[in-house]
Amino acid sequence: MDSFIVISLIKTAVVFAVLLTTLAYLQWVERKVIAHIQVRPGPYRVGWHGLLQPVADIIKLLTKEDLVPPYVNKPLYLLAPFLAMTMALLSIAVIPFGPQIQVAGYQTFMQLTDLNIGVLFVLAVSSMGVYGIALAGWSSNNKYSLLGGLRSSAQMISYELPMSLAIAAPLLISNTLSLRGLVEKQAGGIWNWNVLHGPFPQIVGFIIFLIAAFAETNRIPFDLPEAENELVAGYHTEYSSMKFASFFMSEYANMITVSCMATLLFLGGWVAPWPAQYGSSYVPAVIFALAGLVALYHGFHPARRRDGYTLPFFGVLFLIAAAVFLLPMVQSWLIPLFWFCAKTGGILFGFIWIRGTLPRFRYDQLMGFAWKFLFPVAMLNLLVTGFLVALRS
Amino acid sequence: MLAAVPISWFLTLSAVLFALGVAGFLFRHSIITVFMSIELMLNAVNLSFVTFSYHRQQVNGHLYAFFVMVVAAAEAAVGLAIILTIFKNRRTLNIDDVDSMKN
């Protein structure tokens, strides 16, 4: 019992630290990717290739004046970012990042807790996240905030329906609600992943889940409620410094959560695309080695003078990482963690790519799309899946 | 200190919540607060159902509570639509002012 508490505390500290760093650097990745889509370098000056930009942003946000306007409803105004942040961070508690590992003699799962209603827990926490936005819009005592808050909440609860139906279909195939059980049922290879397996491959379900996830996290093309040129800044107009940072961080944390859920439900979690005996353990090392060689090559023909020493440094770093992936000692947990992060990272890259490419929906188009198209298609997907699963068994 | 919670404590909590719901229903003037007290009463009854389900070690109590939840959802939807219509016609949310059928 004692060791269980100590291990859980250590795991919580590790997951929390990694999550907060990932949140900060996800913003760096987003700015760089959008910049390169728009043919410009992005953050470049603060530290090598802008890697210290998130640190600068955090210092700026922390040292800004923390203004509480006198006309707001104080209890709700102070409660709203707290609710948004808490609900965004809470769902990470049930996400499994990898298989069982051995740490200093203790066997433990790479997951904070394995609830046997894990999927329902994530759904419940994301339903409660609506309150942060609705109360922020109301308590700011500002008509733009109110409209932004109402629109955002209505959008979130409308898209929860197709998301839940899209989640229900792979649950019918995998027959379990526990997130670890979902991944264990998809073991074997890419033909076992829920998106390609079973009596009815869940391709439609995966696409519906991703579209609904865009709307749930208020990302482009569904970000009308918080667009700068539409409603001043929507529900977080009246917030400054740390409270604004909470809303910002909760949006990124929600993005990470839905990407992890998509990976676990549809893409097989930490399962490699083909079994390890056919060489899939060498893929991470090959990828990192290629990245290192490309960085070294560009370091010798630098586009800008500073790249002459930064790019070779990163090249050497990537080659060292490739060597680490070849060590047999860490392969049992590092390779599954790599596959999980690669799949989640791929979906996050898709989020950022779409942000840089698509325009946004008008509000009535957005709501009509949810109720008149996405919800019937999700129901049809669930019906067909259920029918085929029942026929097969 | 007891090692586990006696079942009568759960039932007493359910009674307290129900009584508070009745108090809100009888003493408040705003129609939305009256409606929320009804939801509080329904929640108290759900707690009772689940407690007795534990007592009898059967799952039926959970199912009854589930149906109460579903009916409460349907009732909330229609009730709030009625409240919106009343507000549109009478411009007030005070239940004492909606008395045109009196005398």
């Binding site: 339903s127 | 006696p6 009568s8 009584a19």
Partner: protein, 166 residues
């Protein structure tokens, strides 16, 4: 451990419920009601009702109360006015309520002195599989009837909240 958990969340539930009844502005009552539902969800977990706890948060706290908060925001409901309080009601009401409560508590204690002790894990039949099995075998007729009920509620809400098409 279970006793501490029960006491903490029971006290939170009662305090939030008193807040629902006592607060003047409807939005504070709504947020307190969400608190009541959250603490009740934890108590359901203690009683082994894991599916019901998740359903309570998803349906009750996450959908019905959001609907309440929406209507309060749309109608711009203000704090309640203090006019028209009947003195007799205030004088008689609170003691009668406490008497009603005391009666119920007394009967509850008499019927269930120390019979069943609730501890976490004491009832393992509240999982999704058992609920699904009961829902589609014993309770199939109520299930189908509630689906028609929800359809009627949707139609009613749409008709009532529609703008006049003149």
């Amino acid at each position: 451990m279970d006793v501490i958990l029960f006491l903490v969340f029971a006290i939170i539930a009662v305090v939030c419920a008193i807040n629902v009844v006592v607060q003047t502005h409807p939005i504070s009552s709504a947020v307190s009601l969400v608190g009541v539902m959250g603490s009740l969800a934890v108590l359901y977990l203690l009683l082994g009702a894991e599916f019901l706890a998740a359903a309570q948060v998803i349906v009750y706290a996450g959908a019905i109360m959001v609907l309440f908060v929406f209507v309060i925001m749309l109608l711009n409901a203000g704090a309640e006015a203090k006019k028209g309080r009947s003195f007799t009601a205030q004088l008689l009401g609170l003691p009668l309520l406490v008497a009603f409560l005391g009666l119920m508590a007394y009967f509850v204690q008499r019927l269930f002195p120390q019979s069943t002790l609730v501890h976490f894990g004491g009832f393992k039949g509240g999982g999704v599989a058992e609920i699904g099995h009961a829902l589609f075998t014993t309770f199939l007729l109520p299930f189908e009837v509630t689906s028609i009920l929800i359809l009627i509620a949707i139609l009613g809400a749409i008709v009532l909240a529609r703008k006049e098409m003149d």
